[in-house]
Structure formats: structure tokens, C-alpha cells
Symmetry: C2
């Protein structure tokens, strides 16, 4: 599945031919492009880490020492504004690649919104590996291009959507990216109202009001906590607009 940090290099080469065989995000992550041999080599550079909710892995401005894949949980990509408020510029879901390889220090913080698991690599080691494995660079490129398309969708949202449209859009994104819902189409949001507000460029109160409106309209249910029941998916999509 993965190489424990405690395992020494080279020792287990023969006993674990395909260390990532059980990885839950292997197909969706950039590792999906590698041959078994490549996976063995890469896994030797990586280790799995657990982050508790609220833990920050990468710091804005600091030399980003790590890159990696998200296995479980959701992380926020953020910066601190001059007024001290946090600005969230992106989210990382399972299968996403995080960190900033190649030049430039990290422009953003990377923080776990809920308990999370990642498979991380030292940046230098990963870059050297990538230099020797064109497939990985290609996979990274495709992903970066997709991330860019995603960021541009968010530009549309922040540039032109109303509060309700933004909230509906975010619910839909989480429902899609976190995939399987509980029965009754219930999605558990990994963020607080304030964090949603930071993501959507709104005030917390406005987010709350939008939820109430969507609830009153019968589009969603609010069973409590951070759970959202999607009562009328078609209408929710319509509310999300554009």
C-alpha cells in the first residue's frame, strides 16, 4: 500500500513488488500513469502522513519542502490577507496533487479542513524522480491544466454569481468530489460556515441566510451539523446557475 517512514531504503525491494497496490486514489492520482517498477521507485521516496483537522502542512512564503497526493479528507489552499482575514483560493480533495514543485516558494498555506491522509514526498527527491520519469511530468501537466480549468470556473463563480448561486455551487462540488453520499442524498460538508464564506467571498451571515433560503425552498434539507440533504438535485443545479 505504501512505505512506512520507518522502513529503510532498499531493504524491502524484493518483498514488496507493488507497494501502492491497495492505494485508494492510485487511479485518480498522478501515480496512475506509472508502471509497477516506477511505483516501487516512487513509493520508496514517499511516506503516508495523517493530519488532524486544522493542521497546516505547508506555509505561505516558506520554502515548500513537500509535495504529495491527498488520500483522504479535504484541505484548503489559502493566504492571509493584510486585514488578517483568511482567503481561501482552492480546495484539495482525494486524488489531488498538492504542493508546489519546481522553483518558487509556496504562495499559499495548505491546511486540513478535516482529518486527512496524504502520501507525501520530499520536494527535491520528487523533482529528481520526475526528471527521470517523463510520464510523471506529463501526468502533472495534465493535472495542472485541469486545475487551471477548475480555477477558472471559480473565477466565474466569484465574478458573477449571487450568494445563493455560490452556495448551491459549492454544495454540488462537494457532493461530486466527495462522491458517495450517505442514504437520503446526504452530504457532509467538511467546512464551517465561516470557511464557506472565505471560499465563496461572502460574509458568514450571508452563507447562513442562503442555506435557510434553499431550505425554505425545499431544495435542501438541514438535518443538523454540517450535513446537507439534497432534496431536489435538478433544482439545486438550476440554483447553481450558469
Amino acid at each position: 500500500m505504501y512505505l512506512e517512514p520507518t522502513v529503510q531504503r532498499g531493504e524491502v525491494r524484493d518483498r514488496r513488488p507493488v507497494p501502492c497496490a491497495g492505494c485508494i486514489v492510485r487511479q485518480e492520482s498522478i501515480c496512475g500513469c506509472l508502471s509497477d517498477d516506477g511505483l516501487v521507485a516512487l513509493s520508496r521516496l514517499g511516506r503516508k502522513i495523517h493530519l488532524k483537522r486544522g493542521t497546516t502542512l505547508l506555509w505561505e512564503g516558506a520554502e515548500a519542502a513537500l509535495v504529495g497526493n491527498v488520500l483522504r479528507g479535504v484541505l484548503k489552499i489559502s493566504t492571509m490577507a493584510h486585514d488578517g482575514r483568511e482567503r481561501i483560493v482552492g480546495l484539495a480533495y482525494p486524488g489531488d496533487f498538492v504542493g508546489r514543485p519546481f522553483g518558487r516558494s509556496s504562495l499559499h498555506n495548505l491546511t486540513a479542513l478535516c482529518d486527512a491522509e496524504l502520501c507525501v514526498f520530499g520536494r527535491g527527491a520528487f523533482e529528481m524522480f520526475a526528471a527521470e520519469h517523463g510520464e510523471i511530468e506529463h501526468a502533472l501537466l495534465r493535472r495542472a491544466l485541469d486545475d487551471l480549468d477548475d480555477a477558472r470556473r471559480w473565477l466565474l463563480l466569484l465574478g458573477h454569481k449571487t450568494a445563493r448561486q455560490r452556495v448551491a455551487s459549492l454544495i454540488l462540488e462537494v457532493a461530486e468530489r466527495l462522491g458517495r453520499w450517505a442514504p437520503d442524498n446526504i452530504v457532509t460538508l467538511p467546512f464551517s460556515r465561516q470557511q464557506m464564506a472565505d471560499i465563496l467571498g461572502l460574509a458568514m451571515e450571508t452563507v447562513s441566510r442562503s442555506f435557510s433560503q434553499l431550505h425554505a425552498a425545499g431544495v435542501i434539507g438541514l438535518p443538523g451539523g454540517r450535513q446537507i440533504g439534497i432534496r431536489d438535485m435538478a433544482e439545486l443545479v438550476a440554483e447553481a446557475g450558469d
Copy 2:
């Protein structure tokens, strides 16, 4: 400088050892990473095109047949919203790479805001070339990562900046990306007020008012047309905020 479309393949191999030697954006573009041999090979796939202001090179949804580098001018990356209004999600300046290689059809239109020149390649041919030249994929990756950082800066702008901050930010970006200004720190904007509004997520009237305010504050001059005089750079940076 570049290979004219009329020149036959293979004919000029020896007479033009470095066809891109005079290219104005060679160092800033992804081609900067190539050896002379690589440049010769790539230039054989490309051709230079001129676009008149308003011409659209790539259409949303259509199979994007071309990719390339911007040599001169500024292009907008846009989509059409349901209400028929245009939503601009990005700009491409000289040295930028445009188009969507590898999978996915283009999600956006690509349109010249002013007369422009590009060095373009057939997408398939370019992808094959990239597959054989890891340097190019690497350069594309670095650029895609930079573009992603840029897009996230725009997210901050659209998410949290006021109208005046947005306008000031855009003036600064154009001043920086279009580089050399005329005497008196004059920048010529490549877009109409309406286009600026589409870019900044504002109404055209609000953009106009913001200009008037910055003018009244003595930060900028408005000599006429699309020209902006930067009277007080420090203050303009302060106005741009965050």
C-alpha cells in the same frame, strides 16, 4: 525568426540553423528551454499568424486544433454565460502559451483584444513533439503552475477586492505585462470599459466611476482614449490593496 508557411519542409534545414533566433518572446516563452536543434525541429511544425482585433482563434466547446505562443498583442480567454453576456476568465500576453493540449476540448474562446501575432502549432503535431522532448513538457508544466498561481491571485481579486482595488490591480497588471510604457508612464490599455468590466466582475459604469475617482485622487491621468498615465505609482499600488 520563424518559418513561413510557404517554406517547404526540409528544404531550408541547412540555410536556417536557428529559425527562431530573432523571436521577441523566445526567452520568455516555453521555447526558451530548447536547444538549437530542438528549435529547428519545432519551428518546422509552426507558423506565424496575425489576428485582427476581435478575431477569435479558438471556440468554446470546439475541438481545439491549435496551440501556440503569443508574440504580440493581448488576447482574452472567455466563455459565454447563459444570459448571453461574456465572461472573461483570463488574459494572454506576449510570451504566454495558449490553447489546450492533451485531452479535453477547449472550454474557452480565445479572442484577440487588439491586433496580435502568434506562433501556432497543430495540436496533434505539438503533442507528438512534446512527447519526444521532455524539456518542453517540463516548461509547459512550470508555466501551467504559474498560470494557476495567477488565476488564484485573480480569485482573491474577485472574491474580496472593491471596485477601485480591482481597477487599480488591472492597470498594474497591464503595466507590468506590457512592460515598456510610453514617456510620462503612460500605459495603453488593450480593452474597452465593457471588457474591463467583464474581466473584473463589475458593471461598466462602476469601472468608469473607479477611473474617475482614481483620476480625481491624482493617482492616474486620463489623457484620452485607452491611455492611462500613472502619476503616483506608490499610491496606485496602495489602491490595488492586499
